[in-house]
């Protein structure tokens, strides 16, 4: 399951960055991958659709959001915890 979440998130980010999934490294930031603010918002939409979760994110104050987008591994961890939280509710 954990592997599948990671693969799906990486696939979404890779499509947005127009890269191969193998080129999306865990430690990379969105900026490293050339994903701008509009691309981030679209990625979050794709993540919400893929996992049927709601991602708390306001583009006006990304640093205050609970959703950590500082690196690919941070995004994957955040998605995993949202899935765990929201599947219980």
């Amino acid at each position: 399951m954990a592997e599948s979440v990671k693969d799906k998130v990486i696939a979404i980010i890779a499509e947005q960055a127009v890269l191969e999934p193998s080129d999306v490294k865990d430690e990379a930031s969105l900026e490293d991958l050339g994903i701008d603010s509009l691309g981030l918002v679209e990625s979050i939409f794709a993540i919400e659709e893929a996992f049927d979760i709601s991602v708390p994110f306001n583009a006006n104050e990304p640093e205050k959001s609970d959703f950590d987008v500082s690196s690919i591994s941070a995004i994957i961890a955040a998605v995993e915890s949202l899935i765990a939280e929201q599947s219980n509710s």
Partner: protein, 402 residues
């Protein structure tokens, strides 16, 4: 005052995916109106339209672009590429700063609205794609043209229903004539052939179920179309200095409001607008060889427009030609004046008058030479292009042979 010439034109509409194909279809009197191929068409009372068919967005745009471009923006960009390529212009430095984009459009991204209303209302989903707003806003097309071609001067969209494109082109003309801009990319687009777009028009009970037959006694309403036409308007000395091919000269423009009724046209104000356009162009009625009519095929418009032409042009109304190409490409609403200007430049440059097709029975209330069914060769120096919109907003352009 500066002179303004047209040095490029491009289009996508039901008659063709470019200008040469569209003009060929107009010369042949081809009808681009046919059965609509859209979702839930079986629930529509009106099932015909001038739809752009056989068009594959994926062949023209990449995924990144398609998520941001509604169909009306796609048509606009394809038309702008054709027009600007023909002009031979590239926009850098001072020219970029002094060149802009003014486009006509009425409904904005109607397909985007339709699809996303389905998502939240019909499918009951609580989430829509994040680009719905930048995709549906009706200045999106003008902005994307500005971005693709580096146009940094005055850029905006005009929404005056069926007169949107004429108002837009009139603005572009005035900006160059006054010296405010060097080049303006102008024209307009529309794409509201979706379930909600057609359903709304159905409600007004002015649509034909079978054909658009302007000026014909048995006409029974308008037919919607979709597409875009884009022109490069350029200051004359600038075009001449670089040896550009000049398609036609824009010589006058007028706009008025009826201040009377939200849907019914006004003979008096339609006539007044044509007169003002001729005055602005400093021409006499006798010089006008052809009028591209608003000619919607509704009972109200066509008889009102013919009476207005008779008032504004006097006896000369009997000697000129007037046709409505909406019979072929349908009514493109906010984009219609732009596609119709192609018939005007064809008349001036190629000496061919586009016909009014679907003409079956003379109407004594439309007793002008409406160029019925078959295109005609004619030597024409000056043309007018009429647009009379819902809301009582009138806009008439005057063009002269280059």
């Amino acid at each position: 005052m500066k002179r303004v010439v047209i040095t490029g034109q491009g289009t996508v509409n039901a008659l063709g995916m470019n200008v040469p194909d569209t003009l060929e279809a107009m010369r042949e009197g081809h009808c681009g109106i046919g059965p609509l191929e859209i979702r839930d068409v079986d629930r529509l009372a009106i099932q015909i339209g001038g739809q752009v068919k056989g068009y594959d967005p994926d062949a023209e745009f990449n995924r990144q672009q398609i998520v941001l471009y509604d169909r009306f923006t796609q048509f606009t960009l394809l038309s702008a590429r054709e027009a600007i390529a023909q002009s031979g212009l590239s926009f850098v430095g001072d020219l970029a700063a002094r060149s802009g984009v003014v486009l006509g459009n009425s409904g904005g991204g109607m397909n985007t609205l339709d699809e996303n209303y389905r998502t939240v209302y019909e499918a009951g989903k609580n989430r829509v794609h994040p680009f719905v707003v930048p995709k549906l806003m009706n200045n999106a097309a003008a902005s994307h043209v500005s971005m693709e071609f580096n146009l940094k001067g005055p850029t905006f969209t005009v929404a005056t229903a069926c007169a949107s494109s004429n108002h837009a082109m009139g603005q572009a003309f005035q900006f160059i004539r006054s010296g405010m801009a060097e080049v303006m990319i102008t024209g307009g687009s529309e794409s509201m052939l979706c379930f909600g777009g057609v359903k709304a028009w159905e409600g007004l009970r002015v649509m034909s179920k079978d054909a658009c037959r302007p000026f014909s006694a048995n006409r029974n309403g308008m037919v919607q179309g979709e597409g875009a036409a884009i022109f490069v308007f350029e200051e004359y000395e600038h075009a001449k200095a670089r040896g550009a091919e000049i398609i036609a000269e824009v010589i006058g423009f007028a706009m008025t409001s009826d201040a009377a009724d939200i849907v019914m046209p006004s003979k008096q104000n339609a006539a007044r607008t044509m007169t003002l356009a001729m005055q602005d162009a400093r021409i006499n009625p006798e010089e006008v060889g052809y009028i591209n009519a608003h000619g919607t095929g509704t009972a109200a418009n066509d008889k009102t427009e013919c009476a207005a032409v008779a008032d504004a042009l006097g006896h000369h109304a009997n000697d000129l030609m007037i046709s409505s190409t909406k019979s072929m490409h349908g009514h493109l609403i906010g984009g219609t004046g732009a596609v119709e200007l192609l018939a005007c430049t064809m008349a001036l440059k190629e000496g061919v008058i586009a016909p009014t097709i679907g003409y079956e029975e003379p109407d004594p209330e439309c007793a002008l030479d409406v160029v019925p069914n078959v295109a005609r060769d004619a030597d024409v120096d000056v043309v007018l292009s009429n647009a009379f919109a819902f809301g009582g907003l009138n806009a008439v352009l005057a063009l002269r042979r280059a």
